[in-house]
């Protein structure tokens, strides 16, 4: 049961991030230096991807809180860091972002660091 909570949380967190990025691309980004801050905020809150992304992200937080209240942190942290790999893969697929060796090795370093921290 705690593992199902954790994996649901991971899946929702990634979906939330991808939706937010899709939404921000759809509204062509926000930049408060261009002025019209209320107008830009309105564009944000009327973009379904962004709102849905934030909701999905919030739901993933609830699942995450529920999962770590039962799971050992040394188990939960390394598992959640699968996120970094999945985000790289899905940003390549959906947004055609350039995944270079810096990013691949950066993510590998981060995951090994997270494993080390949670083992101690």
């Amino acid at each position: 049961m705690p593992f199902i909570l954790l994996f649901t949380s991971i899946a929702f967190a990634i979906t939330g991030q991808l939706l937010m990025k899709a939404g921000i691309l759809r509204v062509e980004g926000i930049d408060f230096s261009r002025g019209n801050i209320p107008g830009q905020m309105l564009r944000l809150v009327t973009c379904p991807q962004i709102i849905f992304g934030l909701v999905v992200f919030a739901v993933s937080m609830i699942f995450y809180l529920a999962a770590i209240s039962k799971l050992d942190i040394s188990m939960a942290y390394p598992m959640v860091s699968i996120n970094y790999v999945l985000i790289q893969i899905f940003s390549k697929i959906f947004f055609h972002e350039k995944i270079n060796l810096y990013r691949v090795f950066g993510v590998l370093f981060i995951i090994s660091g997270v494993v080390l921290i949670s083992r101690s």
């Binding site: 944000l44 609830i62 985000i87 921290i117 101690s120």
Partner: protein, 162 residues
């Protein structure tokens, strides 16, 4: 600023010193990296508040009691409410950053929160600093530095800042 002659390297320092993402040129993403790190710092504070909140209600047990009861308990806790407000602020910063940086570039920076939480634990709760933890922090730090060295593709960012 353009009225006076200012050499390029001086402009760069000017931008860092007066932190303001709005006077950035389209070329440089340094201010957005700084904004990204500030956003993650704020987001981590929210995480710590939420953790404190969940501890003060004695954990979340979805299986034991009705879902509505658990959700009401979570969302009436003051720490959780403040935490949610802080999350809202960090979300707007995050969306701002995402409109200029790749998701695959920005997302790994979230791992800085592990370092912040360890630092907090050492500072506030006097948790022990083991060699293993130092090695972990060093690895995460080098990973983030590696990613920050990777180029941000211009075409995929939604906005050409002016």
């Amino acid at each position: 600023m353009s009225k006076y002659f200012i050499p390029d390297f001086a402009k760069k320092f000017w931008v860092i010193y007066n932190f303001n993402p709005y006077i950035m040129t389209a070329k440089s993403t340094r201010a957005y990296k700084i904004l990204l790190i500030i956003g993650i710092l704020i987001g981590t504070c929210a995480q710590l508040l939420m953790k404190k909140g969940v501890e003060s209600i004695g954990g979340v047990h979805l299986a034991d009691s009705p879902l509505i009861v658990e959700i009401t308990k979570i969302f009436t806790n003051p720490y959780v409410i403040i935490g949610l407000f802080v999350i809202a602020v960090s979300s707007i910063i995050w969306l701002h950053v995402l409109s200029h940086l790749d998701l695959s570039f920005a997302y790994p920076f979230v791992s800085i929160s592990y370092i912040i939480i360890l630092f907090f634990g050492w500072l506030v709760f006097h948790e022990s600093v083991t060699p293993l933890r130092i090695a972990g922090v060093a690895l995460i730090g080098s990973g983030v530095i590696l990613i920050s060295k990777s180029e941000v593709k211009k075409e995929s960012s939604g906005v050409q800042s002016s």
